[in-house]
């Protein structure tokens, strides 16, 4: 099994490990609810070094990214990032990714760990004249997330990170180590994703935890990463997205720039938009006790209409929430559904997404 450069740090902090796509990753340290709460109220530090990093380089880099991704790379200036999708010609989702424009001839794509190999092959096959460089093996990724994240990072950064906008990125020294710091994340909070060389990962991890000790910064495992992203209604590839779901079904129409002249999947999505989708991702909250889990049946008017793609107890809301695909007429907010939990039908109601939205402080 693969291990990240921070494996010893996790052991030292008492982590419990789980196999995640062939990686031995920390699932929790003190406990999922405590870690979740730390991120919502203070800050959390995640090791997500299992994610893949692929660069497109050279004069053909921008054109290749425009063809490969559904969002408009042309809207990015140097030092800006966007959420995007790799699509099949069918419109099915190969992966959901982050695209960082480092320069006009250098774009960094951060991809899901479980898809990294598949994505690399797909990108190589469709990169035109761009050079494709797989940087996954040499790159560590730390996520520092939560309302105290920026203050903690600012203490260790050689440049003014607090003035960077959401979705901006910059190369800065953090605790004396060269880092690509991006104001992005997967938790619904303000925060940072810090790309660093493998050898710098452990000193950075230790320095950040020391710097944030007084703020309540806690190491956070994949367990709370999942509950945090679900509350923020951020999809998880393999659960909520796969090659059979399209962005229009997955409420990711905002990511897809159909006004771009060309990208892989465009024709299929134009056709689907004209015909209308037959199912749509919706969010629901349970009205009775129980917890909806992946693959439980969603029932409407006595018939199964879909399946739960993600479900968990929400630590912030104190109730069970979930996502799942249903026919459009069942996806409106307020629609009454039932979830079949091991043969017991539990009442649920379609709710607005995201389930949780942070209260933004003035100026940050």
């Amino acid at each position: 099994m693969n291990r990240t450069p921070l494996f010893a740090q996790h052991q030292q902090r008492g982590a419990r490990f789980v196999d995640f796509g062939g990686w031995e990753m920390p699932v929790q340290y003190s406990g999922i609810i405590a870690e979740h709460t730390a991120v919502r109220t203070a800050a959390g530090l995640f090791d997500v070094s299992h994610m893949g990093e692929i660069e497109l380089r050279g004069p053909g880099a921008l054109a290749a990214a425009q063809e490969l991704t559904a969002n408009d790379v042309g809207r990015l200036a140097d030092g800006q990032a966007q959420y995007s999708l790799l699509l099949l010609p069918s419109g099915g989702i190969v992966d959901d990714i982050m695209v960082y424009r480092l320069s006009a001839e250098r774009l960094l794509l951060c991809v899901n760990a479980g898809n990294a190999e598949k994505d690399l092959a797909w990108i190589r096959d469709h990169a035109g004249t761009a050079e494709v460089v797989d940087r996954s093996a040499e790159t560590a990724l730390l996520a520092l997330q939560g309302p105290r994240a920026t203050a903690i990072l600012a203490r260790l950064a050689a440049a003014d990170v607090a003035s960077l906008a959401r979705f901006a990125c910059a190369e800065v020294e953090v605790a004396g180590k060269p880092v690509l710091a991006a104001r992005t994340g997967y938790t619904g909070e303000d925060g940072w994703e810090l790309y660093a060389g493998n050898a710098d990962a452990a000193p950075l991890w230790d320095a950040l935890l020391d710097a944030g000790a007084g703020d309540g910064l806690a190491p956070v495992g994949l367990g709370a990463r999942d509950t945090l992203r679900l509350e923020a209604a951020l999809p998880l590839y393999g659960n909520d997205l796969d090659e059979t779901t399209t962005p229009l079904e997955a409420r990711l129409g905002w990511v897809v720039r159909l006004d771009k002249p060309s990208f892989i999947g465009r024709a299929a999505l134009l056709a689907q938009r004209a015909a209308g989708v037959t199912r749509k991702l919706c969010g629901f909250a349970l009205d009775e006790r129980g917890i909806a889990r992946h693959d439980h049946a969603i029932v409407h008017d006595g018939s199964e209409v879909g399946r739960v793609t993600s479900g968990s107890q929400s630590p912030t809301l104190g109730k069970a929430i979930g996502l799942g695909y249903v026919p459009p007429h069942c996806a409106d907010v307020g629609t009454e559904l039932e979830i079949d939990i091991r043969g017991r039908r539990v009442r649920a109601t379609v709710t607005p997404l995201p389930f949780y939205r942070r209260i933004q402080a003035g100026g940050s």
Partner: protein, 129 residues
């Protein structure tokens, strides 16, 4: 990790407190620790018959669903009504306030198959790693 001496233990990580033919049943410290934050409990009803080694309830943590197995056979005479409202009690106090059910035993001979505290502690040490 605690292993109270006055209890008997099953391989499915339930504990049993015996008082004649009345058995109070809960989940062990090891079980709650492995599960993590417990957020949901499904209990049987008073009068339900439970059979040794068969599931009679469910506990769910944030991440996982886990059946509760009957360590002994019998009839449910009382359930802990506080648990559905406060499942976190199972993390905080699994050996006393967070008992799960009380059953009237139908076959006291089954008791012989349960472990004492020392044997269970050894069992968990082997299973834990």
């Amino acid at each position: 990790m605690e292993f109270p001496e006055d209890l008997k233990y099953s391989k499915e990580h339930e504990w049993v407190l015996l008082d004649g033919d009345l058995a109070t049943i809960g989940i062990t410290d090891f079980a709650q620790d492995q599960l993590g934050d417990i957020v949901f409990v499904e209990l049987p009803s008073v009068g339900d018959k439970v059979a040794k080694d068969e599931a009679f309830g469910v506990v769910e943590s944030v991440k996982a669903v886990s059946d509760i197995y009957a360590p002994l056979s019998g009839t449910v005479v009382e359930v802990n009504d506080d648990l559905p409202d406060s499942p976190e009690m199972l993390n905080e106090d699994c050996y006393s306030d967070a008992w799960i059910v009380k059953i009237r035993l139908s076959d006291q001979a089954e008791i012989a198959a349960l472990m004492n505290a020392a044997a269970y502690e050894k069992f968990t040490a082997e299973e834990g790693e």
